[in-house]
């Protein structure tokens, strides 16, 4: 084998290693789910919960919808990225309790590529909800 041929083989090998080597390193994407806060907010109507839920979901995710209409169950997904669909989603449930309401937060994320874990997502949503509820 000539010196030039050996060089070519070596370059080919280096290229293949560079290309395929990266395949073994990424961790597999895993589903992450978080049972977030559940709390009772006193002396507030259900409509206040619904308003804050929609605002919070739209500020952290996008296109919040109330399932079935007037159910108090809100759902939103993150913006789909170029390689995946939505990799984050959350639901906020509002339930009437007399003159108060019960609100719960539940989140899911695909990590990676989602930059936020499900717990971080729920923390953001709870903060956004609380600021909107003030």
């Amino acid at each position: 084998m000539t010196r030039i041929s050996r060089c070519r083989v070596a370059l080919l090998a280096v290229g293949l290693i560079a290309a395929f080597g990266a395949l073994s390193t990424p961790a597999p994407a895993a589903l992450d789910m978080n049972v977030g806060v559940g709390k009772v907010v006193a002396n507030q109507p259900l409509s206040a919960c619904n308003g804050s839920a929609k605002t919070a979901l739209n500020s952290v995710l996008q296109d919040a919808v109330e399932l079935g209409g007037d159910t108090g169950e809100w759902l939103a997904f993150g913006a789909p990225d170029s390689a995946n669909g939505s990799t984050a989603a959350a639901t906020i449930h509002c339930y009437p309790l007399g003159s108060a309401y019960l609100v719960t937060f539940t989140c899911a994320a695909q990590v990676p590529p989602s930059p936020d874990s499900a717990a971080a997502l729920c923390t953001k949503l709870t903060a956004a909800f609380d600021s909107g509820a003030r």
């Binding site: 961790a27 589903l31 169950e73 759902l75 995946n84």
Partner: protein, 221 residues
């Protein structure tokens, strides 16, 4: 000229490698909206049913804090070695009875069924209703027997006490030599053992050793 050829070969190799990077489109599917109100029963009743309903489909349901009535469980896709499904059943007491909500999430396409199918079955298991068989979770075929790095299937021995052994199964169950059961989950090389509490361990690159959380185990393979 020879240098150009070399560069061209390098580029061709990179291109060939890049062809295998075609990742499948994956996304989170979330199901919400199933709610059930019972005008009788206690939070404890709800919790017991929530745990049982979850564990019909997903292993190792846990309550977020004792007595909270908020239950969740995750399911693992053995073929990918990562969690691909999860569900939460949340119970809250009412002046009379309780309200319970069912929320499910799956990772598509790694999971073989959508979130709403999982949630419907869990809800129907809870309060009664038609149960539809879910598509089987893909499994490695045949059942792995070697030191695979994507699962913990096999027999493990404690490095500090050779009498302490663990048998880990494809469905995520583990059983020790005394018959005490638990669960395992692997994500990358990080392993969570639920066995007298939760323990985080690392799987060695050869798939043969687990260490961390007070445990050092060796797989017989």
């Amino acid at each position: 000229m020879n240098r150009k050829r070399g560069v061209a070969l390098f580029a061709i190799a990179l291109f060939l490698g890049s062809l295998s990077h075609t990742a499948a489109v994956a996304s989170v599917d979330l199901s919400s909206g199933i709610r059930y109100v019972s005008d009788s029963g206690t939070l404890s009743d709800c919790s017991a049913k929530a745990k049982a309903a979850l564990e019909t489909y997903l292993p190792g349901a846990t309550e977020s804090s004792p007595g909270s009535g908020e239950w969740s469980a995750m399911g693992q896709n053995i073929a990918t070695g990562a969690a691909s499904s999860g569900a939460a059943v949340r119970c809250y007491p009412l002046p009379k009875g309780y309200v319970v909500t069912f929320i499910c999430a799956v990772q598509l396409p790694a999971n073989p069924y959508p979130a709403h199918a999982l949630c419907l079955n869990i809800a129907h298991k809870f309060y009664g209703g038609a149960i539809t068989p879910l598509a089987a979770m893909p499994t490695a075929s045949p059942v792995p027997t070697g030191c695979a790095t994507t699962n913990l299937v096999g027999n493990w021995v404690s490095d500090s006490d050779s009498k302490r052994t663990f048998t880990m199964q494809l469905n995520g169950d583990l059983t020790d030599n005394d018959g005490v059961s638990g669960n395992w989950i692997i994500d990358g090389d990080t392993v969570t053992l639920t066995y007298y509490g939760n323990h985080t361990l690392k799987l060695s690159p050869d798939g043969k050793h687990l260490s961390g959380g007070g445990y050092n185990l060796t797989r017989k393979c």
